[in-house]
């Protein structure tokens, strides 16, 4: 029987003694997993490598998406500034006048805003966050050799990659990428006569996202199956770490909501190519009255937000799971109210399906319908509040080790509170009359699902980096990254609340057309400068990430944080199959920290007779 090199650790001895022998090494199928360069690094079926692929692809898209935001922030902060220096990169989208002053074209401004939203929501915070950590942690924390279907898992990544290629290609079209907002409301998204970006750009956008949904569904089926069927001996559902609960629930939400989005996209494609009129009615555009009548643009909004709202929970739930785990491990305390945390996630998941029309209070739907959506929307605040109180209580009487992961965990809670509370304003339809589609909304969702989800992702990356690469990330850079981003992100998004209260609408290329909206010049400059600084700090993170892969401090012990969960019982350089010998058998829940004076109990240690309160 092969055991890792050197002296076996305490956990390894326990696994050898009590573990479950699945005769892993009697099956000679290991060869197809990592025998050459191609099946190790490219078409890999190993969940750990696929996790890295998702992560690094996500980082690539995060940089693209963030750079786009800098360009349109420059436009908003310094509308009169000379942008000619961007001409080598943006080409014809910068028009230079007779005096040599370059200006960003408004068409491309809207394309940038649209692409920024699409890329960050789908490619970074869905694929990059859930894709990375579901893949990495589901098998490792459940004691599984790999995903239920490694092949589907590989396909999931490559469909995501294909989606990325199509989206990237669309950036270089002569008519530009799609520019009708990430929600792609028809008729704007259907009619190339109404917007240049609704031509080839929109075709690529829809195709890309259809492939993306294929990726999410393949991944989701796999995550659900793995959680239900491949938990190791003793790992009952109530012994799963909250990360796994979060990924499991996320996958279910995705599986139920993404197909609805695709159906909406297909109808949209029919309207675009076959002259159907699912979403079109009585339109006069480009000097011509269209033949299509009888459709409703609002139908699309229902289909879109039936995914679109669960989508924000698809983004935030994995971050919540990661933060729950990180806060518990580094404060050396069990997560407070484990079951309450699970039930609140289930409640959020259920409610996420019956609140979608709160995005549509002002869209012309019958105001009576909005009554239901207001009620359910504000009810979501209850399980969310429960989660916040539990996180805070987890810190209470803990023994907190401040490393970058923990800092981002605490930062996440702060962001989630700040952004979540403004949701209470927007969810109330009466207040939404004034705030809908203003900068208040921009501030709200950027803090609660943008920054907060990124913080969850950062917490996860810093925490599990040793598991991914066998090295630590540089802590000094990590702390600079955290404190800079924490202050910087608030500096960017907090002032937007004030701009929004004053009624300034979002998605405006410039504000000087309206006297009412043109009073925030200095504040917009401030936001832009803060955004540039925050971006620079993310570059610090990226440099730290790649530097640490090769040069970081080596991991010397398998379980560097003294954590209970199973992923730290594998060897440092775990190969395919994760555990070299037997599979661990689970004896207890994952949060026995600080019990009976002991720092932690590994999940593989049997509950002792004299131990207090077995779980």
């Amino acid at each position: 029987m092969v055991i890792s090199k050197g002296i076996p650790t305490y956990e390894e001895k326990l696994i050898e003694e009590l573990g479950y022998d699945d005769h892993f090494h009697d099956h000679h199928d290991g060869d197809k997993f990592s025998s050459n360069f191609i099946n190790t690094y490219i078409f890999s079926m190993d969940h750990k490598m696929i996790a890295k692929q998702f992560l690094i692809t996500g980082m690539f898209w995060a940089i693209i998406g963030a750079l786009m935001s800098l360009v349109f922030r420059l436009q908003l902060g310094f509308p009169e500034a000379d942008m000619a220096w961007l001409k080598p990169v943006l080409g014809k989208w910068i028009t230079v006048n007779a005096e040599g002053i370059g200006a960003l074209s408004n068409q491309f401004y809207y394309a940038l805003v649209t692409m920024h939203g699409t890329i960050i929501v789908f490619f970074v915070l869905t694929a990059g966050l859930s894709g990375t950590f579901s893949n990495l942690l589901i098998p490792l924390q459940l004691g599984a050799r790999d995903m239920a279907s490694p092949l589907l898992n590989m396909l999931s990544y490559w469909f995501f990659f294909l989606a990325g290629v199509l989206m990237f290609y669309s950036l270089f079209l002569s008519t530009g990428p799609f520019s009708g907002g990430w929600t792609a409301y028809p008729p704007l998204s259907v009619l190339p006569q109404a917007s240049e970006g609704s031509g080839a750009g929109m075709t690529f956008w829809t195709l890309s996202l259809v492939f993306f949904v294929v990726s999410v569904l393949l991944g989701g089926v796999n995550y659900i199956t793995t959680v239900l069927n491949l938990r190791t001996k003793g790992m009952s559902m109530w012994r799963m770490p909250l990360t796994i609960w979060a990924f499991f629930i996320t996958a279910i939400i995705g599986l139920l909501s993404f197909p609805v989005l695709v159906s909406g996209f297909f109808l949209l494609m029919f309207d675009r190519t076959m002259n159907t009129s699912f979403f079109l009615n009585e339109i006069f555009v480009g000097g011509e009255a269209l033949q299509q009548v009888g459709g409703s643009p609002i139908l699309y909004q229902h289909l879109f937000w039936f995914l679109g709202h669960p989508e924000v929970y698809i983004i935030i739930l994995p971050a919540m799971g990661i933060v729950s785990e990180v806060l518990s491990v580094h404060s050396k305390k069990p997560i407070f109210g484990y079951k309450a945390m699970v039930f609140s996630m289930l409640a959020i998941a259920f409610l996420s399906f019956i609140v979608w029309a709160h995005h549509m209070f002002m869209s012309g739907v019958n105001p009576f319908i909005s009554n239901f959506f207001v009620i359910f929307t504000l009810i979501i605040a209850v399980p969310s509040a429960v989660k916040v109180f539990n996180w805070i209580s987890t810190l209470y009487k803990g023994s907190i080790k401040f490393n970058s992961a923990m800092l981002f965990g605490i930062g996440f809670v702060s962001m989630f509170i700040s952004g979540g509370l403004t949701g209470i304003f927007l969810g109330n339809s009466a207040i939404d009359i004034q705030l809908h589609d203003t900068y208040f909304v921009v501030a709200h969702f950027h803090i609660v699902m943008g920054v907060a989800a990124f913080f969850g992702m950062f917490a996860g990356i810093y925490h599990w980096f040793p598991k991914l690469y066998g090295r630590f990330m540089n802590e000094t850079l990590g702390k600079l990254h955290f404190w800079g981003t924490m202050i910087g992100a608030y500096a960017v998004f907090w002032p937007m609340h004030y701009i929004g209260m004053a009624g300034v609408p979002r998605r405006y290329y410039r504000f000087d057309t309206f006297d009412s909206f043109n009073q925030f010049g200095a504040l917009n400059e401030f936001i832009t400068v803060a955004a540039i600084i925050v971006f620079f700090l993310q570059v610090v993170f990226v440099v730290n990430f790649f530097y640490s892969i090769w040069k970081g401090r080596r991991l010397t012990e398998a379980n560097p944080y003294n954590a209970s969960t199973l992923e730290w019982t594998t060897p440092i350089d775990a190969g395919h199959g994760n555990w070299p010998g037997k599979l661990p058998a689970v004896q207890r829940w994952p949060y026995d920290y600080g019990k009976d004076g002991r720092e932690f109990y590994p999940q593989v240690e049997p509950v002792g007779e004299e131990e207090s309160e077995a779980h």
Binding site: P187, G337, V382, F514
Partner: protein, 385 residues
Amino acid sequence: MNSLLGFVLISVLLLIVIVQIARVTELAGIKRGEKETQKLTNKRNANYMMWFLAGFMIFCVVSTLHYKNYFLGYGPHVSASAHGGIIDSMFNTTLVFTGIVFVITHIALFYFAWKYKEEDGVKAEYISHDNKLEIIWTAIPAVVMAILVVFGLSAWNEIMADTEDEFIEIEATGYQFGWHLRYPGADNLLGARDYKMIEGNNPIGQDWTDVKNHDDLHPNEIYLPVGEKVRVRITARDVLHNFYLPHFRVKMDAVPGMPTYFVFTPEITTEEYRELLKEYEEYQVPADPMDPDGPEKWEAFDYELACAELCGKGHFSMKRIVKIVEREEYDAWLAQQQPYYFSSIRNTDSDPFKGQTLASEQVEEAAPAEETENSDVVAMNAAAE
């Protein structure tokens, strides 16, 4: 290009410096020993937590005071419509509730982080759950939410209810990129439209055989009398738009092929609102910075109509001026407006009644105005024959 290169170069240099410093710090940490380093880090970052908390709270208070004039219902940012006051007070009620939660949770979060930093000889306590606490902090938010829902929905249903009282009807049609405004004219009725009839001299596709269209006005600005109920019929010609009057707390999507509406009552005239703004410093500066002797901001103030639903590359430019005036002034303005049909369509090739005498033209000389409508029907029958 040079400045781009320079900027990138400086960033890269700065990055190299930061990475080098970080490497040195890390090495120094190893030398000091892992435990000592962690202790130092814990102390430092725990202190930063408290500094951040203090700084954040001060920042919130100071920025709130600084931007207080943009808060709904406050100072120069009061609502100019009757229902807007309800929205503003809802906003402020919610602000009080969420403000309390925000402050308490943030203090707890950062204080606990500071207080329970890892220290020698202090062990974490094993506290796994407390069902009583869970029930309490489920119940309290639930009650608060229930209160907000009740107030919110009663406000919502009051605001969105259609009106049965007398009202002035106007129509706004969004197109790329502007608003087309229509008033019903003397008969108080908007004429029929068909989008297939839209052409150069018929921007919203009015059906000229419908005599109700003949007196419809196409003004460039929205003029409304103060204190009277208005029902805006909102529609769009090409893509989605949104009829947004920030000062009146009015917002509603304009959907092609599906008219929507919003009912509101303007309560402050443009003149009165200017007087109100006059009190505030930020409005006592020249409206045009290039022209220091020109009118000050409050003198130049006007209510504005904007678009609040992304509609293409000119989305940011869909502006119309809104003027709220006394009834007499409104009547005088109305009297000046020429019906579009008579100014632009009558006896052109687009006019179905070309060469005929309309009933309205006959009665204008003979009969009193009240009978106009009946006479129009006669004229229409005549035309049909």
